[in-house]
Amino acid sequence: MSTLSLAVRDSSTMLRRNLLHARRYPSLTLNLLLTPIMLLLLFVYIFGGTLSAGIGGGGPDRARYIAYLVPGLLLMTIGSTVIGTAVSVSNDMTEGIIARFRTMAIHRGSVLVGHVIGSVLQSVLSVVLVGAVAVAIGFRSTDATALDWLAAFGLLVLFALALTWIAVGMGLISPNAEAAGNNAMPLILLPLFSSAFVPIHSMPGWFQPIAKYQPFTPAIETLRGLLLGSEIGYNGWLAVAWCVALAVLGYFWSTSKFNSDPK
């Protein structure tokens, strides 16, 4: 069997294994899904009155704040889902089964690739679910073309891929599942310091550059532009650059960790 077909076959076997785990034990995925949905409802219905007045220039118009909020929360959903990835990778590494995989003549990277593809699929599913809740409470995309939707979908997948590789690395360096959950925490906290909930210009001046150039903000602004027709500008390229950089970094970090001698 050629190296490539071996890689594809073993990776898809590992993917099936991970999806079987996720299907049989959905509680972890569902718990992580609760965070973005809760935040969505919290910000729209509890804080929404005040916040929409601030964003809408005086009028308490919740619909405008929902529109502002949803793109950020969709990306936050990905951050939340990949925490589960870090936990399950870490769990996996403490199990003897990984030692077994390492002593088998299978494609070396397939264990990680299986996790990554599984995690990206879960992220997409989670985003769809959170998106459905958003639509149910009144979110509507304004004048997004089919191409915009496609681009938005591509961005979400790319973003999920980038965060997943980072989460896999975090899972690999964590001694246990608990530590993995803690180490991956920034992935769900970062959106709080981005343009997800409030515009950058309302933040303290010294903090604005940090908020503006961290990975979430360009991705959020790009998604906003695609779904709502706001100005994307340089954010599109910045978002893609961040995703590619994080994915490549995460990939090399994770594979070097995985290939080094286990403890």
Binding site: M1, E95, A99, T103, I106, D261
Partner: protein, 317 residues
């Protein structure tokens, strides 16, 4: 020599300052069982991890050939020839026993039909058919170990590493596992097993290496190892102190234990040797109340070879 399944020279491994394996040589002929015997921390598991490609060998290690393949140059070929069942069960607890087996079949690139057939056969052979649809995490220790070995056998490996295959098992499961291991070798498979149980090595292994502090303290068949140390004796016990004294005179080579009124006479435990002792007792008209023959077992070998000065002091206290 081409008929060696496992050949390693000067196996070294250090973690930081601590030398775990300090130059061990292994040569295991095809179709035999080789036991690495040693206490916890002797380096058994480290040796298995290196030979099974799980971790890299340390500086100073010579050539390692497994199944005729050079481990450093072609680890994938080695992996294709071996199967490993580790100390801690290498099963996926989240999925069922059957799913674990089918996962192995997929990773060995068997066809769907072959995979199902082999999985079913092995589950049957290891008495797991009934539990096949239950998550592996719900299995007992013995069942997990059996599933673990069954998974290892899916790829029909010619060389199998068993790292403490019976540690933590109850006596029945242990005998069960021994029987399984014997069957494997009957099929021509080579087994390298590690154990801290002397009885296990004695029961199963063709050759035994006693590992101590990262070195091989002794190597040979169980019989050869037992011959390495003295200690075979006949023990005579008496109720009557006067009989005890007379026996001590009749058998002057004895070691006395005045408190227990017992004598130890060095002996190799053979029929002729015993008859000679009994004849001398009869000639002196002495009757012992009990006679026990003690031949050195691997325990004696083990303690003699692996006792550190500290432990020897401890034992004296």
């Amino acid at each position: 020599m081409t008929d060696l399944a496992i050949a390693a020279t000067a196996l070294h491994k250090a973690y930081g300052e601590k030398m775990v394996l300090d130059g061990i040589d292994l040569a295991v002929p095809e179709g035999t069982i080789f036991a690495l015997l040693g206490p916890n921390g002797a380096g058994k598991t480290t040796a298995v991890k290196i030979l099974s490609t799980l971790i890299s060998a340390g500086a100073g290690t010579g050539a390692i050939r497994i199944g005729g393949h050079d481990l450093a140059a072609d680890p994938q070929a080695v992996r294709a020839a071996i199967g490993v069942t580790g100390q801690f069960s290498a099963v996926d607890g989240l999925i069922t026993g059957e799913e674990n087996m089918l996962l192995m079949a997929d990773l060995h690139h068997l066809s769907k039909a072959d995979g199902r057939r082999i999985a079913a056969e092995l589950l049957e052979r290891f008495d797991l058919t009934e539990a096949a649809k239950k998550p592996a995490s719900t299995y007992s220790g013995g069942m997990k170990r059996r599933l673990d070995l069954a998974m290892t056998l899916v790829g029909s490996p010619r060389i199998i590493f068993l790292d403490e295959p019976t540690t933590g098992l109850d006596p029945r499961s242990r005998h069960n596992m021994w029987q399984i291991i014997r069957t494997l070798v009957a099929d021509g498979v080579t087994v390298l097993l590690t154990t801290q149980y002397l009885e296990e090595a004695d029961q199963l292994a063709d050759r035994i290496a006693v590992l101590h502090d990262g070195r091989i303290a002794a190597e040979g068949t169980a019989e050869e190892l037992k011959r390495l140390i003295p200690g075979g004796h006949v023990r005579l016990r008496f109720e009557d102190p006067s009989a005890y004294e007379r026996a001590a005179v009749a058998l002057p080579e004895n070691v006395r234990d005045d408190q227990a009124l017992s004598l130890q006479i060095p002996s190799d435990g053979t029929q002729g040797d015993l008859r000679a002792i009994l004849d001398r007792l009869d000639a002196a008209d002495v009757h012992a109340d009990s006679l026990t023959v003690h031949t050195p077992d691997l325990d004696d070998v083990f303690f003699a070879l692996t006792a550190t000065p500290d432990q020897a002091e401890e034992a004296l206290r």
